[in-house]
């Protein structure tokens, strides 16, 4: 019956307005859902990091390795004067060099005799650590060496090294319990010592050991303490500071990707705002066009609707007939929008990862909620307007 009613009411009606509104609706909904998705998956993560000062206020700096450094004509390391020059810059609040190992170090496991993962050991002042975990100290009497692993290092190990070398994978909890050893080689000596992962760092991409241990090991197995530093860590007031960027360019220094997140966050915020604005604009326009097109349809079919009411048809059944295929079409457009979003998210995922920002795959549950709210609201609003127009006609 609804189909027959639909034929009576929609016979001879133009559907052009609905096609235009549908295109606008699809664009608007897609933009809005993309903005919601990116807000959760990218922006909110960066924002939280920024607000907590976990990432962006700390920059790990190193010299850009160019031909001069490769050819040995320029040092790839910071000397004391360069460290002091950096420390003297207005944008630097605190600064400390990383001390590295001057001996070979590799992680081993008793159960995997072939396993040897070279470890770039470093040490930095405790004030620059994300957190200072329990057991973070070492003295010559201690047999076990505490280690803070970079979260990224563990990710890299699990994602690339473990599968390629057939090594076991570790969760954060598991690796903290697992009996690992470190093989120290240098000065004609070789020694295996137990290590324990006591914490993880999101800020510093390295394998950190206490300064006391590094000093001792450099003396025992290496060439002693170096007077140059491959990397320094600086706490800065504003990672987006133009003076900071100019200084780094002039000096040919590079920074960790974390710093970029500050500026990336700003750009992303603007992009999300633009996306959300355009989405809302298209969405609102499409909704208004839908409502007007329905009112026009009812107005043009006034005589038919009036006669249908005279024959005994009820307003709910007429509302369904006027709405016609609107509800399934809107739901279909919602489905297409989600599919488009999946494609865009996958494309963006690679691009964003290349910028050093992590993005989770898949669609955030909030997007589904947003889609339900947007689709539900446009359907409810349209059905309400159709019903209200019919009530006015039926008086």
């Amino acid at each position: 019956m609804t189909r027959l009613l639909r034929q009576i009411i929609w016979r001879g009606q133009s559907r052009r307005s609905f096609v235009f509104a549908g295109i606008g609706f699809l664009l608007g909904l897609s933009f809005l859902l993309l903005a919601v998705q990116l807000y959760d998956r990218v922006y909110s993560g960066i924002r939280a990091d920024l607000e907590s000062g976990e990432l962006s206020r700390y920059l790990v700096l190193h010299k850009r390795i160019g031909n001069a450094q490769v050819m040995g004509k320029a040092s790839p390391n910071f000397n004391e004067a360069e460290v002091e020059e950096l420390r003297g810059q207005a944008f630097v609040q605190e600064l400390a060099p990383f001390r590295g190992n001057s001996f070979a170090a590799a992680m081993t496991m008793e159960q995997f005799e072939d396993m040897q993962v070279l470890l770039p050991l470093e040490s930095v002042e405790d004030a620059f650590l994300d957190t200072i975990p329990n057991g973070w100290s070492w003295s010559a009497e201690d047999a076990r060496i505490p280690v803070i692993l970079s979260s990224e290092f563990l990710n890299l190990y699990n994602a690339v090294l473990a599968p390629s070398m057939n090594y076991p994978r570790f969760t954060r909890e598991f690796i903290q319990q697992y009996p690992l050893e470190i093989l120290l080689i240098g000065n004609g000596q070789k020694r295996s010592m137990p290590i324990r992962v006591v914490g993880f760092s999101d800020r510093i991409l390295s394998v950190l050991v206490p300064g006391e241990f590094l000093s001792w090991a450099n003396e025992e197995y290496g060439s002693g303490e170096r007077a140059e530093y491959a990397r320094v860590i600086a706490q800065v007031s504003d990672p987006g500071d133009e003076a900071l960027k100019r200084f780094l360019e002039t000096k040919d220094y590079e920074t960790s990707q974390d710093a970029l997140k500050g500026t990336a966050a700003g750009a992303l915020q603007a992009l999300l705002a633009l996306l959300a604005f355009l989405g809302l604009l298209f969405f609102a326009l499409a909704t208004v066009i839908f409502l007007m097109a329905f009112e026009l349809t009812i107005s043009r079919s006034r005589q038919e609707i009036d006669l249908l009411i005279q024959l005994g048809h009820t307003l709910p059944s007429l509302t369904r007939a006027v709405a016609g295929m609107f509800v399934p079409v809107v739901l279909g457009l919602g489905g297409v929008s989600i599919l488009l979003l999946l494609v865009v998210v996958n494309l963006l995922s690679d691009a964003i990862s290349a910028q050093g920002l992590a993005i989770e795959s898949g669609i955030w549950s909030g997007v589904w909620l947003a889609a339900i709210v947007f689709l539900g609201s446009v359907m409810a609003l349209s059905l309400w307007r159709i019903h209200a127009s019919l009530v006015a006609l039926a008086r």
Partner: protein, 213 residues
Amino acid sequence: MQLRLQKVKPPNIPEARIRQSGVWGTDLLLTGASRVLVNAPSGSGKTTLIHLLYGLRREFSGKYELDGQDSAEFGRREWSEVRQARFSVVFQDLRLFPQATGMENIRLKSELRPVSAGKDIPAMAKRLGMDDKLDRPVNTLSQGERQRIAILRAMCQPFDWLLLDEPFSHLDEANIGFARALMLERVEEEKAGFLLAGLGFDYGFQTDKAINL
């Protein structure tokens, strides 16, 4: 269903007409399953009466009751219910959808409240000589054919009262006979009454009551 008009006066009927009327301004009780002929000269409010009974015209003074219920208290839902199952009507101006086919016009009514008669529309159409014209748009049919579509539409629903507003104005004697037989058959099946409003002809219907409008 019992219909009662108590001193009902529509605003468009002159007072002089009302004074002579056996309907307007009087108390009129139409009990269920009655067969009523309303003799209505032009301008006496014949169509007004049909529309008033069917709930299309609600501007009047007095009281109109359906089974003791005041029609003034009826809302859209109640009138929909009455039009779906209590009244069936053949309008003088037919009120068909001109672009739709005869069959579509009939189905728009019959599928609201299906009855067994509605299942055999082609058979009923055949009795009125319309079986081969059901699939044609109404605006391609003659006035007499349209009138027969309107009659068929009225036959395919349940009803307590069949309201007929000059239903045979474009039919010849033979077709009037076919239509009358079909109507009486359906009235019997539904145990319903009918009210035939015309210019004074009973078209061969046996009526219980004749009223001058």
